[in-house]
Symmetry: C2
Subunit: 107 residues, 2 copies
């Protein structure tokens, strides 16, 4: 697969109010994640490196205890095994999450 | 670095009318690329896997000879060593380009 239209992918719920649409290569996975108002991806860790780009809405991120309010266009980096979470505000948020290696638990 | 604001990064020109703002971890590089109207990233190859997400504007992508007009929200995958290029239309385009491993020539 060379070209993807994320909104033609059936979403998966990973937490209440949190849906992902994953796409992947061999080394990279891109997941469009939507977080409903007031929803969250609770603090967690994984061995995959992660970067992300806020596409819509504002979210509060916590990475290794460092809390920031992020807006569209902001980018974050989560090194392997570092605790992190995302907490939506009053608007629906949309984020492009990127993992390497791909998360086999999303396949 | 955990949090990035891409538009605080000094851009680099990689072709006439084409600017990148790269950010990276150990395995992932995210580069916000802006392509001025009528500009292009000519057909080329590299050994890095690449994915990308169209953020603004429409572009024509060619990947392994497969030409598509892409719009905001569309995603593409370029496997290692596969020829590809991007050609802007009449609007400025903005794309989140993702590489693994990071492109050492962008550091």
């Amino acid at each position: 697969m060379t070209y993807f239209q994320p909104f033609q992918i059936t979403p998966r719920d990973i937490a209440p109010g949190v849906q992902i649409r994953p796409m992947w290569g061999e080394r990279i996975m891109v997941s469009i994640i939507e977080v409903a108002p007031g929803s969250e991806v609770p603090l967690h860790t994984h061995p995959h490196e992660q970067m992300g780009l806020i596409l819509e809405g504002g979210v509060t991120m916590v990475i290794d205890g460092d809390l920031r309010v992020l807006n569209p266009g902001d980018v974050y980096l989560v090194p392997p095994d570092v605790e992190h979470g995302v907490f939506a505000g009053s608007e629906r948020a949309r984020i492009a999450d990127i993992f390497s290696p791909p998360r086999e638990d999303y396949m």
